[in-house]
């Protein structure tokens, strides 16, 4: 829960900053102010959310207990402290913070340390369950991307701070940034999220979850694309002219598109073959995220075909981060938080006393419009970026911020069991869960 709480807080701050006009598009896309917002979203919100979710779901994916759970808290500490240092470092670059502390370097060491620990815990858990089921193979590739990503990120932080000069590694910073972004959004976050969804969507829709050929090809194609980005692109940078590794990224993008297309086929299959006719709000809201993923992929391909990707890359990244990853994250938190709260609170008394259903912990009717507002805000803001309308962007960002705040409040209410009727709320033997620290982890 602590991972999810810090993640949601980061998202709210980032959305607030965007609504206030801090960073891109009012500022330049590579300005330190933009980097503050981008990393608040990418590390604070999405990566912490992904780590917290994987610590819960990888054991479910592979039917093995989490290895070295004692490292989970250090992961949170390293990532949170590392993010704070990184942001302080960007503020130094922006001239908003005047100290001599080498914040960028500290952040550039703490963050990889945190991610390596996370990859260790999850990697060892996966390793113990070989041969891996397909969803777990997606996560394994995502973790491999995370390691390359963190290395690149640390390198970029050292370059930015001037400790390493670009000449020393014969690569220009501008060539590494697209790789860093592609591996982060496409590899670590998207690939891991797809893997988890391959197991969880059928589980909650009661769809057949046998391995499908399309899923296997989605994995193979996506992995090939990520290999191009993670391995051949750096090679191209070192051997080539030292600018942008456009060939590797184009090849990677082509493989990635095939993977996303196959993933779309599988999603449609799950939805059509579900045994549970009535879908819950988290699945409906995830539909918005899948639409955003498709839109981001089409937009990216269309812009690349017209040669306008450079100019509008911000819109693609925004749509992928907030529409797809952020939308999926928010919608699934809306399932995960009540589910874990239910287990924590009612697990000890189930079978002995009447308990509410998990759905009773949330008020879906009331919350549906908030997800609607969130996705509407994201699509308006994306359109505003494409049209070059910073004022409209701030309007869209404000809408997402309001919707996120409302959903965060609803999650707190769910955790306090506020939506459960008084008669069922706390049967004898059940305890009200603590808000941020789930006691469940200790019992698993």
């Amino acid at each position: 829960m602590a991972f999810f709480a810090v993640a949601l807080a980061s998202l709210l701050v980032a959305e607030g900053l965007m609504a206030a006009g801090y960073g891109f598009p009012a500022g330049a896309i590579d300005a330190p102010e933009t980097l503050v917002v981008v990393h608040l979203v990418a590390i604070g919100w999405l990566s912490l959310l992904m780590c917290g979710a994987l610590f819960q779901f990888v054991p479910v994916l592979v039917a093995q207990p989490l290895r070295r759970p004692v490292l989970v808290l250090p992961v949170l500490a390293c990532l949170t402290a590392g993010l704070a240092c990184l942001l302080a470092g960007f503020l130094q670059l922006a001239g908003d913070l005047e100290t001599d502390m080498p914040f960028l370097i500290i952040g550039g060491c703490l963050l990889p340390a945190g991610f390596v620990l996370a990859a260790w815990v999850l990697g060892e858990t996966l390793w113990s369950a070989r041969p891996l089921v397909l969803p777990a193979r997606f996560v394994a590739v995502g973790l491999a991307c995370l390691l390359v990503l963190a290395t690149l990120g640390s390198l970029l932080a050292h370059l930015r701070s001037g400790v390493i000069s670009a000449d020393a590694i014969a690569v220009r910073r501008g060539g590494l940034v697209p790789l860093h972004a592609a591996l982060g959004i496409g590899g670590w976050l998207t690939f891991s999220a797809i893997g988890v969804s391959y197991r969880l969507l059928p589980m909650f829709m009661l769809a057949p979850d046998r391995e499908r050929a399309t899923s296997r090809w989605a994995w193979a194609s996506g992995s090939a694309g990520l290999l191009a980005a993670a391995f051949f692109a750096p090679l191209e940078l070192v051997l080539g002219t030292g600018t942008i590794p456009s060939l590797s990224l184009a090849v990677g993008g082509a493989f990635g598109s095939v993977a996303l297309f196959l993933y779309g086929i599988d999603l449609a299959f799950f939805y059509r073959n579900r045994k549970r006719r009535q879908v819950e709000l988290n699945i409906k809201a995830a539909g918005g995220a899948f639409a955003a993923l498709a839109a981001a992929a089409l937009l990216c391909a269309a812009l690349a075909a017209c040669g306008m990707l450079d100019r509008h890359v911000g819109a693609v990244v925004y749509l992928a981060s907030f529409g797809w990853l952020g939308g999926l994250g928010l919608s699934q938190l809306y399932k995960i938080v009540p589910f874990l709260t239910w287990l924590e609170c009612y697990g000890p008394v189930m079978g002995r006393k009447p308990t509410p259903r998990v759905q009773d912990l949330v008020a879906e009717q009331r919350d549906g419009p908030w997800f609607g507002l969130y996705f509407a805000g994201v699509f308006v803001a994306t359109g505003a970026l494409l049209a070059g309308e910073p004022a409209l962007f701030r309007f869209g960002a404000t809408a997402t911020c309001l919707a996120t705040a409302a959903i965060a409040i609803e999650l707190v209410l769910a955790r306090r069991l506020a939506n459960v009727s008084a008669a069922l709320r706390l049967p004898e033997g059940a305890h009200l869960p603590r808000l941020f620290v789930a006691s469940l982890g200790n019992r698993r």
Partner: protein, 172 residues
């Protein structure tokens, strides 16, 4: 944790073509709370990882030469103050007095239904439940309440579990 690991060498049984499963289960039942089991075998006993994993043991295997393996099974979940060991007296399981099929339920309903049915049993009676998948969240709950269980994954990905109600009526 102050007991040294219990050593069990099943290589002689295996070399004579015997079946060491019952010897292993007897050794497991005889373990003190928190005590580990060190097993020596002529192959890496993967099926056993699953069986003992379901009972809260974590396996660490290493090859010790000549194709032999040493596996240390360490209890990772607290054994709990149960009146009888969950895996004790493994030979005396009566036929299930109730069978339920939870395969078409959404989590956590399979677990809730299973627990409801278990709590309705008389101590010593058993329940057979078909679940959509291995119930990772159910095991600690069963353990905490002192119920014993045997489970196995089915070819179609579902999971069959037989639960025997423990002697106590209230968990601590």
């Amino acid at each position: 944790m102050d007991h040294p690991p219990y050593d069990l060498d099943v290589r002689p049984i295996l070399r004579e073509g015997g079946e060491p499963f019952s010897a292993i289960m007897e050794a497991v039942a005889a373990l003190a709370p928190g005590q580990s089991l060190r097993l020596l075998a002529t192959f890496k006993p993967l099926p056993l990882f699953q069986v003992l994993g379901a009972r809260g043991f974590e396996a660490a295997a290493r090859e010790i030469g000549n194709g032999d393996w040493e596996v240390l099974f360490t209890p990772v979940r607290p054994a709990g103050p149960q009146a009888e060991a969950p895996q004790g007296a493994s030979g005396e399981w009566p036929e299930p007095s109730q069978r339920i099929d939870c395969r078409d339920m959404v989590p956590p309903e399979p677990m809730a239904k299973t627990m409801e049915a278990v709590e309705a049993l008389v101590p010593g009676q058993t329940l057979e439940a078909l679940l959509p998948r291995e119930p990772r969240f159910l095991f600690p709950e069963l353990e905490g309440r002192g119920h014993a269980w045997k489970g196995e994954a089915q070819p179609d990905g579902s999971y069959r579990i037989v639960i025997r109600r423990g002697g106590r009526t209230e968990a601590t």
